[in-house]
Homo-oligomer: 237 residues x 2
DNA sequence: CGCGACCTCGCTATTTATGGGGAGTTTTAT
DNA sequence: ATAAAACTCCCCATAAATAGCGAGGTCGCG
């Protein structure tokens, strides 16, 4: 077993292009004898990268129907820490059930297992296996392979991140200490007056810091600046 | 090797109290023959829980000196996805170097390896090994054990979350879809007028969502609400 | 020594956000 | 079926943030 994992990981390490990653997913599918293997990287703005063995029709339909906004897999994984078998998710909403039926009609198997992978800057990716198996067989399969899959998912994500700068330019502008302190106060809910008092400076001086932070961060307003500072990890609430 | 990992994981699975977790960390330290093993956990509000084999003196000093706010390990891991060996971090600032010397004086080894672990609701934990080894030996050690450590770190975090004695209030209030969309627009820098246009609603309706979001999130103002939503991981920029 | 970056303070005017009222329909859940 | 929650709209007055003009001191770097 471990040998196979090592083989898969070496193939992954050797990947040099996005096409190689696609090929890795296909060999994973064949190795685990499942219907589909998928990796996709999600963010709310709509930028995304996906690779996997889903049919082009299903992918198109998924995007067309905007299933991203209702998919219990996305929603569920976003709110949990551990990998999840699809049947554990909440399919109670009507929209979700319709989507599920639609998926089955497009060649997806009845079982799924998705590993949420989180990184800095709100990076969030999903690594998914989809198969047609009985509940028992699927549970056994997961039990046997959960750890390997976690390693694979994380290594895959690491590799995917190497290729492109998903986190935009990657060069987070450096804020001065006072600017960081100002952003931090605002992020913790202080008004300008309170933050100025906290930092023992005049409110006007604080304003100068906020302004300069905004410009450095390329933000439209204070809220935006604080949001960017948080996302960039340069301040922590 | 794998057998040892399985042993460690069974011990971890059997843990029933926080004291057991502490004991697991100690046996991990002994097993890997390192100076220290540490797990610490940060939640969206900034409360922290830590367990590990550091001396009480060092923990006290760390808290007293507020090293949390400057520790390159914390900061570095917060901004990266992959585990990191301490020497790769940025120790250029004077405060960081002083802290490093202080740490050595308090019995820490010269090498460290920290795995950042992220979960829902902005959950963020660090799993750390600290040792006294040459750079080469340490690199070899990491090379040999990186995957096992990742599994261990994630399993440890999973176990720690099960207890949830310190994270009970971590239940982030659920925002409605429109509230989330409003927060998301604001986080991306839109003014209220722009966000209202984006969502095809009146500016007043948008205000209602912002207000209700603020109340649900316990925020003092819009910026605070957006910051909390981001930290909680319920929106992404 | 000058240059730039950082830190500090003040003024005025305009735009925007906030806080308090209310009121109706639709969707979801019990 | 009925209640709860979510979604949508409107007015008014005040508080706060933004944009523009300034000025002067400290510190490190080449």
């Amino acid at each position: 077993m471990t040998n196979r994992l090592e083989d898969l990981l070496s193939t992954l390490q050797a990947a040099a292009t996005l096409e190689d990653l696609q090929a890795v997913l296909e060999s994973l599918r064949d190795h685990y004898k499942v219907e589909h293997t998928v990796y996709h990287w999600v963010n709310s703005v709509g930028e995304r990268y996906g690779a996997g063995t889903y049919s082009a029709e299903w992918v198109d339909r998924y995007l067309e129907k905007d299933y991203l906004r209702m998919d219990p897999v996305i929603f569920g994984c976003f709110q949990r820490f551990t990998p999840v078998s699809w049947k554990e998710l909440d399919w109670s909403s009507k929209a979700a059930r319709e989507m599920w039926q639609d998926a089955l009609d497009h060649g997806l198997g009845n079982q799924g297992y998705t590993i949420p992978i989180r990184g800095p800057n709100g990076q969030f990716a999903l690594f998914t296996l989809n198969a047609s198996l009985s509940d028992e067989d699927w549970a056994q399969f997961i039990d046997d392979n959960a750890r390997d899959l976690m390693i694979l998912g994380h290594e895959f994500n690491k590799k995917a991140l190497e290729f492109e700068q998903w986190g935009e330019d990657g060069s987070t502008p450096a804020l001065s200490p006072r600017e960081l302190a100002s952003m931090s106060c605002l992020a913790r809910g202080m008004s300008r007056a309170q933050a100025a008092a906290e930092l023992n400076i005049s409110e006007h001086t604080l304003r100068v810091y906020i302004e300069s932070s905004r410009h450095k961060l390329g933000a439209m307003n204070t809220t935006h600046a604080v949001a960017r500072a948080l996302s960039a990890g340069i301040i922590i609430i």
